[in-house]
């Protein structure tokens, strides 16, 4: 503060260098901002990656042979979760074996628990053959079709497959929403 300010008018003209300096600063600033910003935004967008195909074993096919037409809740820790998810990763799917006589694709029907309305967990009532949602009164028939209430579509169905070891596997369901269903053929 005590040093005398040099009088700019008496200083040699440095127009070109000043401009160079200014533009270099702008450029360096832009590069720095991009160097920090691009990876950061990329990190934030990380959850949008789509490489989640994990299969969950539900047991040997023979276990279902005696349960033709019955709807059972199977629960398992969802492999799509994090190691620190604890019980929050515990997922349930409703599995029904429809019998061997059908086309192979219809032997099993597996529903996600989440209501198609706003995601609450539906309950299966075998005596009336209905799935009921506890939250806003959505009701579905055994086929998964919406019977009444606010759901805009039927229950979300899960992909399944029979392995070579003749075991039933279900594709681990992500949280299903109207535009992000669990089977490619369900996309509207």
């Amino acid at each position: 503060m005590t040093e005398p300010h040099p009088n700019p008018e008496t200083m040699p003209r440095r127009g070109f260098f000043q401009k160079l300096m200014t533009w270099t600063t702008y450029a360096a600033g832009a590069v720095a901002a991009a160097a920090v910003g691009v990876p950061f935004v990329g990190y934030l967008l990380g959850p949008l990656r789509k490489d989640l195909e994990k299969w969950v074993d539900l047991g040997p096919l023979d276990d279902f042979k005696d349960l033709v037409g019955e709807t059972r809740l199977h629960t398992f820790p969802n492999p799509l979760g994090q190691p620190w998810d604890g019980k929050a990763a515990k997922t349930g799917v409703y599995v029904r074996y429809q019998g061997p006589g059908r086309p192979a694709k219809e032997q099993f029907v597996i529903f996600a628990m989440n209501c198609a309305h706003l995601g609450c967990p539906v309950s299966w009532f075998p005596q009336s053959g209905l799935f009921m949602c506890p939250c806003h009164g959505g009701v579905y028939y055994a086929s998964g079709k919406c019977a009444s209430g606010p759901p805009p579509r039927g229950l979300f169905q899960c992909d399944w497959r029979i392995t070579r070891a003749v075991r039933l596997e279900v594709k681990a369901p992500h949280y299903p929403t109207l535009q992000d269903t669990l089977r490619p053929e369900d996309r509207s």
Binding site: L48, T75, N78, K90, Q127, C135, A147, S148, Y175
Partner: protein, 493 residues
């Protein structure tokens, strides 16, 4: 000693310059009447800020123990409630001071609206205030998620499903909101970051701007009927007004301080009296049964949804709140001049009355909405004895069908059971046998509230069920008859 302190203070002030900068701000002149009884209208903003301080303090305290991961969030909350000394108190205070903040911010906003204080030149102060309100509400929602219980978990699911309805980009919005393919640790961490870093950061920044605007534009004088705001002349008039004014550091500040202290004492008393809220249980998504209701500041929207047809839902969820926000932001631009006194602005007063009446009614609806079926009523709520005391065997069989087919989950008998559908205690007086068969078989026409039971009950079950339903009427009352039915209606069995 005193001299030493003074010298020390002087040493710091010479470097910090508090007396040059901060002190004049505190002493900024306010209209003289703010120091009088009218000044009590001006205390709500600073009281909200006092509660914000409590929130920061208790929030830091809670963060010392809380674990933002699903496997331990619930147990760390239980530990706060039961093990950590005064942990229960901090949790309770954080909840009630937060609730108090919402209340005070709303009162503050209402006062500013009624007194026309948002008009020229304080439009921007109002706009920033609207965003501050959004921050406070955002804190409330994100805070509820951290209380990792089934309400929080399924509330998050509802939020995710709502986000999934955004046209075209829905799945991406869901992905960014939940942070992962399922609702778990990623979602909780993100709401923790929102609640602890992002929203508070934005809130404090906006608050600084809000306060700066209050200093820069000055506190509006208490409104006087007939005193018109005209942007051309207002600045000169206001300058004159504050020339006769008093410094804020004085009576005006005293009122603020007293009311702030009372507000703080009130939330502390509430916290000590009512204790912490939740967590109700550990959320396990594979367990059926959930009935998430949002926290009280959002119950009105929940109530509105429960009253609306499903077709209107997406609009109410995604567009309506945006319209409300735009409406609030537009207030000072729609009317930034003219009368300020509520006595000369009957429409403004009416708007406030109507808005609060609607919000109150919707909140009540939200708190009591019979939206949810009673999932255990089919087995947990037996048919009341006096309903079947004089039933014949077929009607008794019908009562069993009624229970077994889960009708009770949505239909109450004598007030017991679900309230999703109507109470059927005297349905025999209202609907004829044919109407009942039609209703049960086909459900509500056009995809209403009742599912079609046609394929779910056998002919014998249907006959018994309708016998039972027809018998549901007060003693001595004849069954309902259709006007198109011949007078010699078929005899009651």
């Amino acid at each position: 000693m005193k001299r030493l302190l003074k010298a020390l203070g002087g040493w710091f002030d010479a470097r910090l310059g508090v007396r040059e900068t901060i002190l004049p701000m505190l002493k900024h002149p306010v209209p003289a009447r703010v120091a009088g009884p009218m000044g009590w209208w001006y205390v709500f903003g600073s009281a909200s800020m006092t509660l914000l301080l409590i929130q920061i303090l208790t929030g830091i305290g809670l963060a010392l123990v809380y674990v933002p991961a699903p496997d331990n969030a619930y147990s760390s909350l239980l530990s706060l409630n039961h093990d950590v000394p005064l942990g229960w108190f901090l949790r309770a205070l954080h909840y009630y001071a937060g609730s108090g903040m919402v209340v005070l911010v709303l009162i503050h906003m209402t006062q500013v609206f009624l007194h026309g204080a948002y008009k020229y030149p304080r439009e921007l102060t109002w706009v920033v205030g609207v965003f501050l309100l959004l921050c406070v509400l955002g804190m409330f929602f994100s805070g509820q998620v951290l209380r990792w219980d089934p309400d929080a978990y399924w509330g998050l699911a509802v939020g995710g499903s709502m986000a999934g309805r955004v046209p075209w980009v829905g799945p991406w919005v869901v992905g960014l909101l939940l942070g992962g393919p399922i609702i778990g640790g990623d979602a909780l961490s993100r709401f923790f970051a929102l609640h602890v870093f992002v929203i508070p950061g934005v809130l404090l920044l906006l608050l600084a701007v809000h306060l700066w605007l209050v200093l820069k534009c000055g506190i509006s004088a208490p409104p006087v009927p007939g005193q018109i705001v005209d942007p051309k002349t207002y600045d000169v008039e206001y300058k004159k007004e504050v020339e006769k004014g008093v410094p804020f550091l004085g009576d005006a500040m005293m009122k603020d301080a007293l009311f702030s202290a009372l507000a703080a004492i009130a939330v502390v008393a509430l916290a000590a009296w009512l204790g912490p809220v939740g967590p109700s249980a550990l959320p396990v998504p594979s367990e059926t049964g959930a009935n998430p209701r949002p926290e009280w500041p959002f119950l009105w929207l929940f109530g509105l949804l429960s009253l609306s047809p499903p077709a209107a839902e997406t609009f109410i969820i995604l567009v309506f709140p945006l319209l409300l926000i735009v409406g609030l932001l537009a207030v000072p631009f729609v009317s930034n001049r003219g009368e300020r006194s509520p006595r000369r602005r009957p429409m403004a007063v009416l708007a406030v009355v109507v808005i609060y009446a609607v919000l109150g009614a919707l909140t009540y609806q939200g708190a009591t909405a019979p939206w949810s079926p009673h999932m255990t009523a089919w087995s947990g709520a037996p048919v009341p004895e006096d309903v079947v005391r004089r039933s014949n065997p077929v009607e008794l069989r019908g009562a069993v069908v009624f229970q077994y087919k889960d009708c009770r989950n949505c239909h109450a008998l004598e007030g017991q059971g679900g309230r999703r559908g109507p109470d059927l205690t005297d349905v025999g007086r209202r609907l004829t046998r044919d109407q009942l068969i039609d209703q049960v078989s086909n459900g509500t026409p056009g995809g209403g509230l009742m599912p079609a039971y046609g394929k779910q009950v056998s002919d014998a079950e249907m006959a018994a069920l309708t016998d039972f339903l027809v018998s549901l009427r007060p003693p001595g009352q004849p069954p309902a008859r259709s006007t198109t039915e011949p007078q010699t209606a078929r005899k009651e069995p």
